[in-house]
Every structure is written in structure tokens, then in C-alpha cells.
């Protein structure tokens, strides 16, 4: 590949160009971070409201319940409950995880870690952020329509999401918002793919890239391929709702001829399963790197980790049918999807084993990024294992649409990604903002979060196994579920604990930004390219484009001179 040096432009002077309409990938990354944290807050409050309704049915929601639902005296009404779980899912997946993991870390880390001065197309990058803002605005606007926001579940299956199930404008705006966000993410993805292929520093082969970049790159590839599938589904749904087409209407719902509601499920999950990996791959990448950095050891089988992530990416495109075992598919199909799903265990096991191999006999430093990474190892292990029961047809027929599913995907997507995201924030904080966060508070934050989230999601696995359906307003109308009230109350208290724990993070984050300890250039003593430059990263990153001479995980090499246990990627590999 011809090596090419991007020009250094002068640093922008005006506030608008510097912080609002910036072309700088670092600023855009931070914008995505604010955006994501904002929506994370909203989605979190929604989660607490859902939990409140499940633990204390018929009791007014504390503090602002009376303000939000005056007509019921502060009790969350059933239709609002449906809206809450729909928007909680939508917001967390598309407006919190996606912007933080992909938008923030993707933008911030990719150029810095591959030794580039910016993305390949800075203006498309900026546009991608502002389109995401537009999408967020449309979604928030949908809350203020006469019949409220979307309430058909985050999967928005027809007939729930057609005019019969959701007559209000809210669902239409929801669909539009997702479509717009798809455009934004696709633009970002194309930018990431091109950047990684063309702008790696001289000497950096694909396997010299940190695994973080691998994860983000694979995510971008999946995004570019599968978001348009969801986009097509959204467009057809909008046509059904606004222009009276019949794509997803059948039976009595269709005035003439037959559409097919199940087709939407196919379209949704052809996108939806890869989406799971779109969300988790960046976290895997980050964790794979951090485990090595804080064990002061090279990543065990880094090449195999990268290749397993790649094969999971490829396999993830072939297994979507496991979400639809109960749609009366032919047994031949369900069994094929089951078999394909199970094959994903092979590469997953390889890299999970590599994670353990990396920490094995390392001289582990329990700094906050490492704690969160170890947390990911634990929760992702649990999430992956519970997935086996859902990927198997026989057990899934019982567990389908129960809280077991909710517990499973929260372990994989919510817990792993959340902890991975926190690990990333604590780790790159010095390079992003030039300040260190307080370690002691970070550790408190970790333990409260870890306790809280395991209480919540483990509890969900239990009540789901007990047969509790995932979308009931008040499941305790059913006699056999009344025994589950205590566990549900426990889950809710755990959720409140977890929510409370996030104030430690907020305080720590804001305090660090305002008057945090100034960070050194390389506070964690790691050798990847972003740590060769000053903290915070200067305008256009690298004064001279670095030349890469070794891999990203050269730690603990016994041949290194006294007093050093790592080397920079710009240094020739030290041999004994």
C-alpha cells in the first residue's frame, strides 16, 4: 500500500468550528460520547420505571411520577409501560451503545491507534454525527405526539407496529428515526473501513493493529452490509403506515391481497443478529487489548483472537433464524439455524480461551480499566453460555419471549458492552481530555455496578426460567407467577443500586474534567501509537507520521533493558 501523509491543517479558532462543526475525529468522538451519555441517562431512567412497575404494581412512581402521569395518580399506565420498554431498548441499543462504542471509540481510537492524522473523509464524519443528532431529535419528538412514542417493542414487529397495532404518529417517527440513524451509521462505517485500509502508518500490517481497531473495523463492515437491510424494512413499514401499502398486513388487516407480517421478522433479524455483534465487537476488541496491557504480557494468541473475531463476524450473518424458532418455520430450517448458531461457539471459545491465556500468570495491575475488563470476561461468559439454551430449538420453544431471553441479551449486549465502554472511558480519559479520573471512586463505581447488574440480570434469568413473559404489564395476574414477586423486587432493588452507582461515575467524570489531575503522556505504560504523543492528543495527532516496527502488545519482554517492561510500536523489537 502506498503510504500517504495527510496534510496538517491549522487548528480551528472559532468556538463553532472547534467544538460544534468540527472535522477533527477526536472532537467528533467526544461529541458522540456526550450524545451517548445523554441517551444512556434517559434509557436508564426508563429501565428504572419498568422495574418499578414490575416490583411494585399499582404503586405511584416516586419523585416525578405525579408529574408524568397525573391522570393515574403517578402510577405508570399500561400503554406507557409498553412505550417504556420499547424506547428503553431502542435508546440503549441505537442511541447509547452505538454512539459510545462505535461513534466515540471508533472515531477517537481508529486514527490514533493506526497512526493517522484523521479519518479518510473528515467532512463525511462530521455529517454522520449531525445526522445522528437529527435522528435523536426525531425520536425524542415522537414522545410528544398525541398518542405517545412507539410501543411495539424495539423489534417493532408488525402487526404491533402497523396502523392497527400503533395508530399514533409516534411509531412512524420511530421508524423514520431508525432509518435516519442507519444512514448516519452507514456513513461512519464506510469512513472507518476506508480509513483502516488506507491510512495505517507505514510498517503497520493488519496484525500489527491493536485488537480494538480490529473490533471496530469488523463492526464497521457488518454495519455497512446489514444496516441497509433494516433500512429497507423501515422504508416498507413507513409505506405501510403512511401510504397505505400492504407489505406487512395480512388476513383481516389487509383490505385486499395478502402481505406477510413474518417477512418483517426475517428482514429485522437478518440485520438484528449481526447487530448483536456490531455492538459487542468493539467491546471485545477493547477488552482483548486491555487484558494484555494490564497483565503486562503479550496478548495470548492475538492473531487467533483477530481471526476468531473475523470468523464470528462471518458466521453471524448466517444464523438469524434462531430468533424465529416459534414462527412455524420448517424443522429442517430450524435445525440448520441451530447447527449454524452452535458453530459460533467454536471461535467464541477460542478467543475466550485466549483472554484467559492472556491473564494467566500475568503480573496483573488492578487499575479501573482492568477491573472493568475482567468484569466483561465474567459477564460475557455468562451471557454466552445462556445463549446456548436459546440457540437450541427444544429449549428455546419454552424459553422464547421469557425474561430468560431478556437476562441473556442483557448479559451479552448490555452488561458486557456497558462494562467494556466504562473500561474504555477510564483507559482513554487521559488521552481524550488530558486528565486522570480518581482511581478510588472508579473502583467503588466498578463494584457497585458489578453487584447491581448481576443482581438484575441473574434475577432475570431466574424469573424467565420460572416462566415470566417479557412484555407483560402486570405478570402477577397469573397465579403461577405470584411466587416470583420477591425475586422481581430483588431485581428492582439491584437496578436501583446499579443506577445509584452511576452517580459515582458522573461525579468522577465531571470532577476530572473540571479539576482532574493532569495526565502524563503515557500513564498506563503501554506501547500503542496513541501513547507516543502528548496528552491530550494534539491537533492532527502526529507531528511526524510514526513508523511501526512491532506489534501492539510487546509487554514483559525479558530482553528489555532494566526498569522497562514494555516497548512502543515505533521501536524495533528487542531480542535477547
Amino acid at each position: 500500500m502506498a503510504f500517504y501523509e495527510q496534510h496538517i491543517h491549522e487548528a480551528p479558532k472559532t468556538f463553532l468550528k472547534k467544538y460544534v462543526f468540527s472535522f477533527d475525529h477526536k472532537v467528533i468522538g467526544k461529541q458522540f460520547l456526550w450524545y451517548g451519555i445523554f441517551f444512556l441517562g434517559i434509557g436508564g431512567i426508563m429501565a428504572l420505571m419498568i422495574r418499578w412497575a414490575l416490583a411494585f404494581p399499582g404503586v405511584a412512581f416516586p419523585v416525578f411520577g405525579n408529574f408524568l402521569f397525573p391522570e393515574t395518580g403517578g402510577v405508570i399506565p399500561p400503554d406507557t409501560y409498553s412505550m417504556l420498554f420499547t424506547l428503553h431498548g431502542t435508546i440503549m441499543i441505537f442511541y447509547a451503545i452505538t454512539p459510545i462504542l462505535i461513534g466515540c471509540f471508533g472515531n477517537f481510537c481508529i486514527p490514533l491507534m493506526i497512526g493517522a492524522r484523521d479519518m479518510a473523509f473528515p467532512s463525511a464524519n462530521m455529517l454522520s454525527f449531525w445526522i445522528a443528532v437529527l435522528s435523536g431529535a426525531v425520536l425524542l419528538a415522537s414522545l410528544f405526539t398525541p398518542l405517545g412514542g412507539a410501543a411495539g417493542g424495539w423489534t417493532s414487529y408488525p402487526t404491533l407496529s402497523t396502523l392497527i397495532g400503533s395508530p399514533g404518529v409516534g411509531q412512524t417517527l420511530w421508524t423514520l428515526a431508525i432509518f435516519i440513524l442507519g444512514v448516519s451509521s452507514t456513513m461512519g462505517a464506510i469512513n472507518y473501513i476506508t480509513t483502516v485500509i488506507t491510512l495505517r502508518a507505514p510498517g503497520m500490517g493488519y496484525f500489527d493493529m491493536p485488537l480494538t481497531v480490529w473490533g471496530l473495523w469488523l463492526t464497521a463492515i457488518l454495519n455497512a452490509i446489514f444496516l441497509p437491510v433494516l433500512g429497507a424494512g423501515c422504508l416498507l413499514l413507513i409505506f405501510d403506515r403512511v401510504f397505505g401499502t400492504h407489505f406487512f398486513l395480512a388476513g383481516a388487516a389487509a383490505t385486499s391481497g395478502n402481505g406477510d407480517p413474518i417477512l418483517f421478522q426475517h428482514v429485522f433479524w437478518i440485520f438484528g443478529h449481526p447487530e448483536v455483534y456490531i455492538l459487542i465487537l468493539p467491546a471485545w476488541g477493547i477488552v482483548s487489548d486491555l487484558l494484555s496491557f494490564f497483565s503486562r504480557k503479550p496478548a495470548f494468541g492475538a492473531k487467533a483472537t483477530a481471526l476468531s473475531m473475523t470468523s464470528i463476524t462471518i458466521l453471524s450473518t448466517l444464523v438469524y433464524g434462531h430468533h424465529m424458532f416459534t414462527t412455524s418455520m420448517s424443522p429442517l430450517l430450524t435445525q440448520s439455524f441451530m447447527t449454524l448458531t452452535m458453530t459460533i461457539s467454536i471461535p467464541s471459545t477460542v478467543f475466550f480461551f485466549n483472554w484467559l491465556g492472556t491473564i494467566w500468570r500475568g503480573s496483573i495491575r488492578f487499575d479501573s480499566p482492568m477491573l472493568f475488563s475482567l468484569g466483561v470476561v465474567f459477564v460475557f461468559g455468562l451471557g454466552g453460555l445462556t445463549g446456548l439454551y436459546l440457540g437450541t430449538v427444544t429449549t428455546d420453544l419454552y424459553l422464547h419471549d421469557t425474561y430468560f431471553v431478556v437476562g441473556h441479551f442483557h448479559y451479552t449486549m448490555a452488561a458486557s458492552v456497558l462494562l467494556g465502554g466504562f473500561a474504555g472511558i477510564y483507559f482513554w480519559m487521559p488521552k481524550m481530555f488530558g486528565v486522570m479520573m480518581n482511581e478510588a471512586i472508579a473502583k467503588v463505581h466498578f463494584w457497585i455496578t458489578m453487584l447491581g447488574l448481576n443482581g438484575v440480570f441473574m434475577g432475570m434469568l431466574f424469573v424467565g426460567y420460572g416462566g415470566m413473559h417479557r412484555r407483560l404489564y402486570n405478570p402477577f395476574w397469573y397465579d403461577f407467577l405470584q411466587k416470583l414477586i420477591p425475586i422481581n423486587t430483588f431485581i428492582t432493588w439491584s437496578a436501583i443500586l446499579m443506577g445509584f452507582g452511576q452517580f459515582f461515575f458522573l461525579y468522577n467524570f465531571i470532577h476530572a474534567l473540571l479539576k482532574g489531575k493532569k495526565a502524563e503522556d503515557n500513564p498506563w505504560n503501554v506501547g500503542t501509537l496513541e501513547w507516543t504523543i502528548p496528552s491530550p492528543a494534539p491537533n492532527y495527532n502526529f507531528k511526524d507520521i510514526p513508523v511501526v516496527k512491532c506489534g501492539p502488545h510487546e509487554l514483559g519482554n525479558p530482553a528489555l533493558p532494566e526498569g522497562r517492561d514494555f516497548q512502543y510500536q515505533t521501536e524495533e523489537l528487542v531480542k535477547a
Partner: protein, 192 residues
């Protein structure tokens, strides 16, 4: 030397981007075609009742017009590579007008369908004809805008710079792609 490197990397970047972009668009339209296949395989009779009297006339006109537009664009690219800018401009303009002609012929397609009493609400087949052509025409509108942009870019060009030739090439790829998508839609919705 340094300049040549920059040009090379721009060429590579633009071809990677264009490839990924076209893959994305193919997935979008591919999803529609997958939907078509599902509906068609499940249907008891095809074309469904009341859909037998579709006219091929306007859709065929559309096909010819967009094909000619693509061909004109191809000659435009040939001419700019030969540095013959006045015939190139002529080809570009004809490509643009044929593109507008395609839009017009699509309007005629819809009018003709409406005359025969077929609307987007007439069962799944009507939904597909209208839905697919709407999505396609929205992309064609973007394509036509890009053609106008190229016309402005090449208004008084006398030496070809690298950036402009890349832009022409990428717009061309998009435009040919849309022609191809229309051809598929013509075949599955109207011919077979």
C-alpha cells in the same frame, strides 16, 4: 512524486468507498428483491387477480431511456479521458436529460397504473410496484442531482484534474448501478 502518491491513495480510497457504498445499496435493494421472492413463492396465483392487464409500454420506455442515459454517460467518461471536453459536455448533458426523461416516464408509469385502477393499496403486487419504484426514484433523484453537479463542474474545464475524474467515475458507477436496479425491477415486476 509526492503528488503521484497522493493521487494513488485518492484513487484507492475512492474505489474502496464506492465499492462499500454500492454493497450497501445492493443490500437495500436486495432486501426488496428478497421480499418479492417470498411474496411470489407464497402466492397462489401470479400475477394476482386483477393485475393481468399491466401495460408494458411505459415501463419499457423507462428501460430504454435509462439505458441510453447510462450509455451517454459511458461516452462522456471516454471523452474526458481523451481530453475532448466539448463532446464530453454534450454527452453529459444528454445523460442528464435522459435521466430526467426517466423520471418523467416513471410518472407516466404511475399514471397508467392508476388509470387501470391499480394503486399501492391494491394488494401486495400493487404495493410492490409502487413501493419499489418509489425507493428507486428517490435514488434516481439523487443521481440526477449528482449529474447536475457534474455538469456545473465540467462547464469550463479545459484540463482534467485527478479529483474531477474520480468524481465523474464515482457518479458514473452510481448511475449505472441505478440503471441495473431498474432493469431488474422491470424484469420482475412487469415482464415476468
Amino acid at each position: 512524486m509526492e503528488n503521484q502518491k497522493a493521487k494513488n491513495i485518492q484513487t484507492i480510497q475512492s474505489s474502496i468507498t464506492m465499492t462499500v457504498l454500492l454493497v450497501s445499496f445492493s443490500m437495500l435493494f436486495g432486501t426488496l428483491f428478497m421480499g418479492y421472492m417470498v411474496y411470489r413463492v407464497r402466492a397462489t396465483a401470479w400475477p394476482p387477480m386483477g393485475m393481468n392487464d399491466l401495460s408494458l409500454f411505459y415501463p419499457s420506455v423507462s428501460t430504454v431511456v435509462i439505458a441510453l442515459s447510462s450509455i451517454a454517460f459511458y461516452f462522456f467518461e471516454q471523452q474526458i479521458n481523451l481530453k475532448k471536453f466539448s463532446p464530453a459536455r454534450l454527452y453529459l448533458l444528454s445523460s442528464l436529460f435522459l435521466g430526467l426523461g426517466f423520471c418523467l416516464s416513471q410518472v407516466m408509469v404511475w399514471k397508467d397504473l392508476a388509470l387501470r385502477g391499480i394503486t399501492q393499496g391494491s394488494g401486495i403486487f400493487g404495493s410492490m410496484i409502487y413501493g419499489f419504484t418509489w425507493i428507486h426514484i428517490a435514488h434516481v433523484a439523487v443521481g440526477v442531482t449528482l449529474l447536475v453537479w457534474l455538469v456545473i463542474k465540467f462547464k469550463n474545464v479545459s484540463v482534467l484534474n485527478h479529483q474531477d475524474s474520480l468524481k465523474a467515475k464515482n457518479v458514473g458507477m452510481f448511475w449505472h448501478f441505478l440503471g441495473l436496479v431498474w432493469l431488474l425491477m422491470y424484469l420482475i415486476l412487469f415482464v415476468f
